[in-house]
């Protein structure tokens, strides 16, 4: 009886599953053919997977706990760029290093410590403190003017975890990435807010960054393909949008409480800037403890109405280097 049950169970399971999988494969194939091809795998020797939409990012845990050699890279850096995805897309640490080195006549190393999920600068400041990183020039991008007093949920989770739990989370991001690459021929059913669900591509948004500098190598979306770098349509930022550009009346409100103090305790020198985006403040009154380095928006373009194109990244990096160089020792 048991043998019969097992035979019947196994055969039915195998046949029904195989039939269903093949049917899905056949149905999805023509739709998948219209989608852009997946990007190549990162070159693991010099690149790392920053963000995979199917699971999350690796940088929160890696930065906070100094995993994967992050602590060493930050220690070796002279300039650290802190902020959200605006920093990831909008500044190039490698280019900044070159420009600063040329101006100062000595090697100056920069590292892009931008983090995803719209993280404010508080997370980065706490990560630097936790890793014992001091004596650096830290450039803070005041996206949304860093008015958030707290870290994001992702930031909090990384901060409340330890090296082990963060390492497991990083492993999960990679496992999901490889799983979806392997299962790329099949669709997935994505529930959406509001009660809809649709068949969509399995592979999700991918951000890959360079290990040595933290610079963004590419951003790839499942239905658009590469959006950074890309030949796709981009959007200009109007520098004269009067409503969007406004000065902050009070510098004290322009940074999350404790960020400057946290950085100062570690012996780091903070500098503030705003990477151009539609709606950014044009001017923030300078303060002795935190010099403001304005970056002009002229000529900058975004690919999605918020994040800069590679050309915009070059412009902002050059502008930042010009303003930062005289202030460095």
């Amino acid at each position: 009886m048991r043998a019969r049950f097992l035979r019947s169970f196994s055969c039915t399971l195998a046949v029904v599953y195989a039939a269903g999988a093949l049917a899905l494969l056949a149905w999805w194939r023509p739709q998948r053919a219209q989608l852009p091809p997946p990007p190549p795998l990162p070159d693991w020797k010099i690149q790392f997977l920053d963000y995979y939409g199917g699971r999350g990012d690796t940088t929160h845990g890696a930065f906070y706990c100094g995993l994967g050699g992050m602590r060493e890279r930050l220690e070796k850096s002279d300039v650290i760029l802190l902020g959200s995805s605006h920093v990831i897309f909008g500044l190039s640490a490698e280019r900044l290093s070159q420009r600063l080195s040329e101006r100062k006549g000595r090697p100056v190393r920069a590292y892009n410590m931008g983090t995803d999920y719209g993280e404010g600068t508080r997370f980065g400041a706490e990560a630097l403190t936790r890793n014992g990183i001091d004596g650096k020039a830290v450039v803070l991008d005041l996206f949304h003017l860093d008015l958030r007093p707290a870290m994001t949920e992702i930031g909090n989770r990384a901060a409340q975890g330890d090296a082990f739990s963060n390492a497991v989370e990083i492993a999960q991001v990679h496992v999901n990435f490889f799983r979806d690459r392997l299962l790329e021929p099949w669709p997935c059913l994505r529930p959406e807010k509001g009660g809809h669900a649709r068949f969509a591509r399995r592979l999700d948004q991918i951000l890959v960054r360079a290990s040595a500098s933290g610079d963004l190598v590419y951003c790839w979306l499942p239905e658009q393909g590469y959006v950074f770098p890309s030949d796709r349509k981009s959007f200009a930022i109007d520098p004269d949008d009067a409503e969007a550009w406004k000065a902050l009346p009070n510098r004290g409100q322009s940074l999350a409480p404790g960020t400057l103090e946290r950085l100062a305790v570690a012996g780091n020198r903070p500098f503030a800037t705003v990477i151009p985006y539609p709606g950014a403040a044009r001017a923030v009154p300078p303060a002795p403890a935190c010099p403001f380095l304005p970056i002009p928006a002229e000529g900058c373009r975004t690919f999605d109405g918020s994040h800069l194109t590679p050309e915009g990244r070059e412009r902002t990096t050059d502008a930042l280097a010009e303003r930062l160089a005289p202030l460095l020792p």
């Binding site: 196994s10 082990f164 999960q172």
Partner: protein, 460 residues
């Protein structure tokens, strides 16, 4: 690490393979499973692991002392050991879980601002505390023999049940430890249970959560009519069933794949025609624990009717609080307590109604209780519940999101019909039916996008 994460699934597959290979050497196999179970706890944070280890070691040493006292016949000493250990365990649970709740409420009473206590509840403390207490009481009463350290550690840490149950008794699991068990159908039934549980969680519960989570706020973005509120409450009932029954099925399936049997935790609760029947179908292992270690020691139903009513309400209120530090959980427990007490009184007076007449009132009562269980605070719960009875017009029309949600509820209702289907199926066709069901569940599991929503009961 959630049990629906791909990394966990890969590691589980590896553990199943290793268990098969190590089957002739059960001691080695169990140490490997213990190591993996501790790894699973550690994946949530090393602090959770250290706390778990300290609690386990202290209680093992204490249980040793208790067992010696019992063996010597030193009743007073045994009573002291038992009382001391239970007080320590409950004290630890109360401290970690309720300190912030106590601080908030005392501050509110004194009219002072509250402050954040930087202590979170350790993972699974509610569950392993109950496991420990059941072992200590059973040891004292001579129902179980003292376990070895390996058996004790395996019993408490076994990963399918450590985080969110089922609440397993020593006599249910320990006799299976150290044995070589060869049941050919284990892998088939285990795979079936796991696949169906995964489906209930990922496809159904997560999908419903996406629809209705935004509604449980003091000021939801959409205004809700009375029918919408009833639909939302019903969908939450389905969500928590999909989440918790799904998880429990996965736990049973994982254990079975590894060669162990755990007790079932759910038995079609939406078919319950009384609250007492509901608690024989919903979180069965918790209700049995409360009955055996709280209700019966308080006198059970062998006391005066008034005392019995008080016992029932107290036990259910504590059961509610066990779920979380919040007034909503207490209200939920009191809902069930007063309902069950009313049933006791009715039964004593000879009032009996047929099941078809009591089914709807029972389920409506359960639904109303869920509103308070889910709401972030009492005021929101009360406002939501009031809105369920504020019919501004006679229309029963539902917003589109609920219509889709009711579609998602269909698998939950079908799952309640499964026992009838199985009973009606000829034995020679069972393999076919379960094989097809498992294949469909696995296909949907593979296709559905999992957004890594945590299990509701992992938070308890």
């Amino acid at each position: 690490m959630l049990y629906t994460d791909t990394l966990f699934l890969l590691l589980l597959a590896a553990m199943v393979a290793v268990s098969r290979v190590l089957r002739p050497w059960p001691v080695v196999k169990e140490w490997v499973l213990i190591a993996f179970s501790l790894f699973v706890i550690a994946s949530w944070g090393l602090t959770h692991l250290w706390i778990f280890c300290v609690v386990v070691l202290v209680n093992y040493a204490g249980a040793h002392g208790l067992a010696r006292a019992v063996e010597r016949g030193a009743n007073r000493s045994a009573r002291l050991w038992l009382a001391g250990l239970i007080a320590a365990d409950v004290g630890a649970l109360a401290f970690f879980k309720y300190i912030q709740f106590a601080v908030d409420n005392v501050s509110a009473l004194l009219g002072r601002p509250s402050f954040h206590v930087p202590i979170g509840a350790p993972l699974a403390i509610s569950f392993y505390t109950f496991h420990i207490i059941s072992y200590l009481v059973d040891l004292r009463k001579g129902r179980v023999r003292p376990t070895t350290f390996r058996e004790y550690l395996f019993y408490l840490s076994f990963f399918p049940h450590v985080i969110a149950g089922p609440i397993v008794r020593v006599w249910q699991l320990v006799p299976q430890i150290g044995k070589i068990r060869r049941v050919p159908t284990d892998w088939a039934i285990g795979l079936h249970d796991f696949a169906v549980g995964f489906f209930l969680k990922v496809a159904v519960a997560n999908g419903i959560a996406l629809l209705i989570d935004p509604l449980w706020t003091a000021a939801p973005a959409v205004s809700l009519s009375a029918p919408d509120r009833w639909a939302a409450a019903f969908l939450y009932y389905c969500q928590i069933y999909g989440d918790f029954a799904g998880y429990s099925l996965m736990a049973l399936g994982m254990a079975r794949l590894l060669g162990y049997r755990l007790p079932p935790n759910f038995r079609a609760p939406m078919l319950a025609a009384s609250l007492q029947d509901f608690w024989r179908r919903w979180h069965i292992t918790l209700s049995r624990w409360l009955r055996d270690y709280l209700y019966i020691p308080l006198g059970g139903n062998r006391v005066s009717p008034m005392r019995n009513v008080a016992n029932v309400i107290l036990v259910m209120a504590l059961g509610g609080l066990w779920h979380g530090a919040g007034w909503g959980f207490l209200i939920w427990g009191l809902f069930h307590g007063t309902g069950i007490a009313a049933e006791h009184i009715a039964r004593r007076r000879g009032l009996r109604l047929p099941d078809w007449a009591t089914w709807l009132p029972t389920q409506v009562w359960v639904l109303l209780a869920w509103v308070f269980f889910r709401s972030p605070d009492l005021a929101t719960g009360w406002s939501f519940a009031k809105g369920m009875f504020s019919w501004t017009d006679s229309s029963l029309a539902l917003a589109p999101r609920f219509r889709f949600g009711l579609l998602l509820a269909v698998p939950i209702l079908l799952h309640h019909a499964v026992p009838f289907l199985l009973r009606a199926t000829p034995r020679r066709r069972l393999g076919l039916l379960l094989g097809a069901g498992t294949a469909i569940a696995l296909l949907v599991d593979a296709v559905i996008y999992s957004s890594s929503e945590t299990f509701v009961y992992f938070k308890f």
